[in-house]
């Protein structure tokens, strides 16, 4: 069905609130938008309560503009900042218990595969470093070991932002945060390497400095998950509050980190590489 459920019933166009009418008439549904055309179409995500200048909010904005099929996509989130924006988008969103995303996504994806064997229903997890690498670590890993066909995106702000700035497993060593009064005692977890080892077929690490590249990575991660297996994106999405970054410098910080420990990194299995090469050839022809 997909598109049908985002069509306004005949006669009701004049009774719908403005933003819904805009969404249907000028949104992403049913057509492929280019992320570079942002600002010229109605975005899927609406006003949300995330902080001013939050680059997690920025990443999520680009994420929604990059979806290959928003009308057949389901997003899962968990407790934390990201859900504040995820819950305000015109894409079904599941918000369960803290850290359960990859287990819920496993069940969901399997259910959808049973029910719609001939359709692509994209399942995407967007959760923070705490949800995926601390409390939900086992479930994250096992969804990869089991080769569940969905995408996991870690929006890594290196801190528990939503609960007031506590140390997470992804905080860099030495950083002084709440619950780490003497500075963090151990290294940042190497999530990308874990994902590769655990069986992801496509893995990327990215700092949000280039919307075109973010969009490409997201599309690839979703398409690879459709056909081959689990995919993982590790995105740096700074917390300007807890790390005291002036909002004006948030992008500068992202660029700076990209030069250091968040260098763009993309890895995929040969099978996936072949698939994308095929696809790109076809696109060029078309």
């Amino acid at each position: 069905m997909g598109l049908e459920y985002v069509k306004i019933a005949p006669g009701f166009e004049r009774y719908m609130p403005r933003d819904y009418v805009d969404l249907v008439k000028m949104g992403q549904f049913g057509r492929q938008v280019d992320v570079m055309d942002l600002g010229q179409f109605k975005e899927l995500v609406e006003d949300h309560p995330m902080c001013a200048g939050c680059y997690m909010a920025y990443f999520i904005r680009i994420f929604y503009a990059s979806l290959p099929n928003p009308e057949d996509t389901i997003v899962l989130g968990t407790a934390g900042c990201a859900r504040l924006a995820l819950s305000q988008a015109a894409v079904p969103f599941i918000y369960g218990n803290y850290g359960d995303t990859n287990a819920v996504a496993s069940g969901l994806k399997r259910a959808l595969t049973i029910r719609f064997p001939d359709k692509h229903k994209d399942v995407v997890v967007i959760a923070g470093d705490g949800g995926l690498m601390d409390i939900g670590f086992g479930m994250t890993m096992h969804s990869w070991f089991r080769r569940e066909k969905f995408t996991t995106i870690m929006v890594d702000n290196e801190v528990y932002g939503n609960t007031g700035g506590q140390e997470s497993g992804m905080s860099p060593k030495g950083v002084q945060l709440k619950m780490a009064p003497k500075g963090k005692q151990f290294d940042k977890i190497n999530a990308v390497e874990l994902a590769q080892t655990a069986g992801c077929v496509y893995v990327a690490r990215i700092s949000p400095t280039n919307p075109k590249r973010i969009a490409k990575v997201i599309r690839r991660a979703i398409l690879a998950a459709r056909h081959f297996g689990p995919t993982f994106i590790h995105a740096y999405t700074s917390c300007n509050i807890e790390y005291s970054i002036p909002t004006r410098e948030v992008l500068a910080d992202a660029r700076n980190r990209e030069k250091k420990d968040f260098k763009f990194y993309e890895w995929m299995t040969d099978e996936v590489k072949e698939y994308f090469e095929e696809m790109e050839k076809k696109e060029v022809k078309a």
């Binding site: 069905m1 997909g2 459920y5 985002v6 309560p49 009308e71 057949d72 996509t73 389901i74 899962l76 407790a79 859900r83 819950s87 305000q88 988008a89 015109a90 894409v91 079904p92 969103f93 599941i94 918000y95 369960g96 218990n97 359960d100 287990a103 819920v104 996504a105 496993s106 069940g107 969901l108 994806k109 399997r110 259910a111 959808l112 595969t113 049973i114 029910r115 719609f116 229903k121 086992g138 479930m139 890993m141 096992h142 089991r146």
Partner: protein, 389 residues
Amino acid sequence: MVEQKVVDPDYLILEAPRERKFITGSQAFAEAIKRANVDIAIAYPITPQSETMHLVGDLWAQGYVKDYYRAEEEYGAMSAIAGAVRGGARAFSATSGPGLLRGLEAIVSWPGHRIPAVLGVMTRVVNAPLSIQPDNVEIAYLLHSGLIVFHAENQQDVFDFTLAGFPISEKVDVYLPVVVATEGFFVTHAKGYVELPPEDMKLPPRDPYKAPVPPTDCEIPPARIQRDAPVQKSNFMSYLIHAVWQQEVWSANERARKWINHYLGGLIEVVNPKAEVFIVASGCAAAQGREAQRYAEMEGLNVGLVKVRSIRPFPTQELREVLKDAKAIIVPEHNIVGWLCKEVKAVIPNGDRVVEGPRVYGGMTLPVELIMDEIYKVLGIKKEKKTLV
């Protein structure tokens, strides 16, 4: 795999011819799942539940269940059940004791998320020191989150409650998870007679669109679905939202009564309704109570039994009605806290009539003789016993 045809739930559960088999409680769970048209079952090992989920795994291998896997642990298993059910599938899992508590955060969030699933709980001790014996204290943890909780006395109950659990949980006005609890080992590993409907019949598949909340499958509006809203009083939320949400869960629990009456013949079962002394019990304690009632009858004593099938919703009115003239109410239990006794006392106006116990725990057997002793006591009968303890 036997070719199965879909039949009406009422026919399968209430009318279809039945054949008697001598099977274990675990097999009874599996026989129910075989006829329940389950899409996905998710398992994690724990004694004494494992055997049930082995058998359900075999059902998957044979094609009766469409998907099955061994999860990473119970929290993951129960979360995945929530995911599968949101996606529109019919799901089953089972667990025991410590595993139940590990999965509890996920399980107690099912009612609020409106997840209609069936969960088998084979009780065992949950407190330290570790043990695997049947003690049903863990049911107490399930009573206050909106789940529908049935307590099966024997293998027949296990089969009936589990099979009926699916249509009850999926009724639009209910849409809550159903827990079918029973004592581990005493029921799961013991054999009993079970009347089974034919295996070439199954329930209709789940219709996720006949629901009080939309399934998350991108086939039905709204696109901006917020089934799991983090609703709390805030600047863009009513202070009442969380309160009415909780009310809705418990209202749904109330609405389940009529369906339990329909499919299970009532929230309680009464033996000898005109009795002077009643044994009120659930699960295996009801089996012991049934035996005690029979012994008492043979001895010419006027003793009755009330078996509580459904702990949630609780048969408040039913108990008040049956027990209104009872001289004494004996509540035998397989746990130390006496959760059923507390429930009974809460609905019986004069709490003095309620005898707390006998109780056994830590995996001990509850001998019928112990209940008989209480019966003699409340009737003022003195017995000389030659039995040795």
